[in-house]
Amino acid sequence: MPYLLILPGLTWLAVFFLIPIFTLGQVSLQEGTFAEGFRFTWHWQNYPDLVSRFGRLFVRSFGYAGIATLLAFLIGYPLAYAIAFRAGRYKNLFLFLVILPFFTSYLIRTLAWKIILADEGFVVAALQALRVLSEDGRLLATRTSVIGGIIYNFLPFMILPIYVSLEKIDKRLVEAAEDLYANSPRAFWKVVFPLSLPGVFAGSLLTFIPAAGDFVNAQLLGGPQQQMIGNVIQSRFLRVLDYPGAAAMSFVLMASILVAVALYARLFGTEELM
């Protein structure tokens, strides 16, 4: 009987995940061109070919996503902490404000940044006045704006899981720590932070995984030297019509992310997830 309850979920996964993955895998082993047609020939050569051509962009995408995740953590954790422990009756308001940008579309949020970070805009002017940027420096079409865009777009995904795990912590544990001669920072480090790790882990995954495959931020806020692996997959699929290549790269991306996540889980230790 319990297995019948899993059936709808399992069917959904099978139809919308397993079958497409299988089809994609099949396409990645085809060879040919759009003009002459594609034939399934177990063409494993697609994989090394593409990794050698676009390997640099894989590294760049993981770099951008990694930095964005770290910075999102550094920005998001204090905010989540403040909302969970200090907001009092304004808790719901602040949570609403965190989610508010999501009421507009992803594309519009990113396009808005093109105007905010414009060379003649106040952000660049302020940074130039503070000597952070040089006289003719700019933010758009640089690594900074692409990573900034990724952080901005995925910040709520970092904040909300951390908030949830902080919220669950029994405040009396902190009191108990203080009774045992811990000062505030020590209580945080020994009690609160370890208990919030499941939220940090979830938030990092929810930020890193989509960020690694992102292409919108690089396309709108970046120049030719900031393109990510998502842009390459889009280019191969839509413009070059190299379906096997695009499929192979999607698999390599998925596999790399799985490896990265497995390593990350190792580092954090699986016990903390329970």
Binding site: E120, G223, P224, Q227, S235, L238
Partner: protein, 394 residues
């Protein structure tokens, strides 16, 4: 039912008798409906008109955004009694190709009766056999097509396509920021403009203009020509001269002043000039690109005759003027006819009827180039080259 059983029920139980009654009424209505329909048809058939018999609706029309005014579709609906289902779901030729490909390659109905695509994509659709031939007897106004557009390399007799609007690709720039007026394509590479130049992500537009700047002719482009253009572009990506490859979002950069010089499309620049009168259009002396978006009927379209009637309708000069008043690209219909009509409705006299971007002179058109229709091999090589350089992987 006993009194006791009736307490708590608002109506009596559904019995076998009720069921049989229901079936009876149902059977009667099913039998009677053809009779009722026949009576209705009989009254209609008293006076059938050719349009009513031929025109099935609704007309499913997929187009690019901002490509039609607010009046034309309702005018068509009231005159022909067919509703127009107008959807602006085409944003990119290649993206739309990806949408159509699974349907049309399997021989299925695409759900659309008219689609509008750029010349080179029309060429691909024709080669793949995905279009229905136009029945010109239903489109008498096709005769009003501009002479220069009657015979095009990708569709010599206009069997499959009729242009919707045309436009130029050349340079939009801000003379206040560049410090001077520009005259030539090679000036886009002036080191003073480092980091202030954007190019288009559309291969034929960017390679075409770059080729012209190098003295090559895009209408006879070879793969070697493409390599030369790509090398030139690469040089300027490496030294940071080219800021970005854009879709039509170069408008934001030109407006904020982040870009001083952009490869741009004519109609967009006219619209941008409204907000920012500093911006100017340049017809470079080496030449520039001309493209058209064309109305097509995909294979298996359900309402072909209606689609043809629509094409005939929009080719009426007064309807062209109406569309032109909003769209500001180059009309496909003979220009003297459209100019006459548009002079009647334009708000400022001469604003549109004297605008060389809407009604280009013969001289301008002589300098305009259409990118050579490519065979599959050449197209594959050129797109591979261009995409590599745009992704900084060349």
């Amino acid at each position: 039912m006993t009194e006791f059983e009736k307490i708590g029920t608002t109506r009596r139980a559904y019995t076998r008798r009720d069921f049989l009654k229901g079936m009876g009424v149902g059977a009667l209505s099913v039998a009677a409906s053809p009779l009722i329909a026949a009576c209705a048809r009989a009254t209609e058939e008293l006076a059938p008109t050719p349009e009513e018999l031929a025109l099935a609706g609704p007309l499913n029309f997929s187009n690019w955004p901002y490509y039609i005014d607010e009046q034309t579709n309702s005018d068509f609906e009231s005159e022909f009694g067919v509703s127009v289902n107008y959807i602006e779901d085409i944003n990119d030729n290649e993206e739309f190709f990806a949408v159509m490909q699974p349907l049309l390659s399997a021989g299925e109905d695409s759900g659309r009766d008219i689609i509008v695509l750029t010349d080179w994509m029309v060429s691909r659709f024709i080669n793949l056999g995905w279009l229905d031939k136009l029945d010109k007897s239903n489109i008498p106004n096709a005769e009003l097509l501009r002479d220069g557009m009657r015979n095009v390399a990708f569709d010599p007799n206009r069997d499959y396509s009729l242009p919707w609007q045309s436009g130029f690709t050349a340079i939009g720039y801000n003379p206040t920021l560049t410090g001077r007026k520009l005259t030539s394509l090679s000036e886009i590479f002036d080191p003073a403009f480092a980091g202030r130049v954007t190019m288009l992500s559309e291969m034929r537009d960017t390679l075409g203009l770059t080729m012209l700047g190098l003295g090559l002719d895009p209408s006879t482009a070879t793969v070697e020509d493409a390599e030369a253009a790509v090398a030139k572009i690469k040089e300027h990506i490496d030294n940071g001269h080219i800021r970005r490859f854009t879709g039509n979002d170069y408008g934001t950069e030109l407006t904020t002043g982040d870009a001083w010089v952009a490869y741009a499309w004519s109609g967009d620049v006219i619209q941008l000039q409204l907000d920012n009168p500093d911006l100017e259009w340049l017809f470079p002396e080496e030449g520039f690109m001309l493209w058209s978006d064309n109305m097509l009927i995909p294979k298996g379209a359900q309402h072909k005759a209606t689609a043809e009637a629509y094409m005939d309708f929009v080719y009426r000069p007064e309807i062209q003027a109406q569309i032109e008043n909003f769209v500001w690209f180059i009309p496909p219909v003979k220009h003297d006819l459209v100019k006459e009509e548009i002079a009647k409705i334009e708000e400022t006299p001469g604003e549109l009827s004297e605008n060389p971007l809407i009604f280009p002179t013969e001289e301008d058109l002589a300098n305009a180039h259409i990118f050579k229709p490519l065979d599959e091999d050449e197209e594959a090589q050129m797109i591979e080259l261009f995409e590599s350089v745009a992704l900084d992987l060349y």
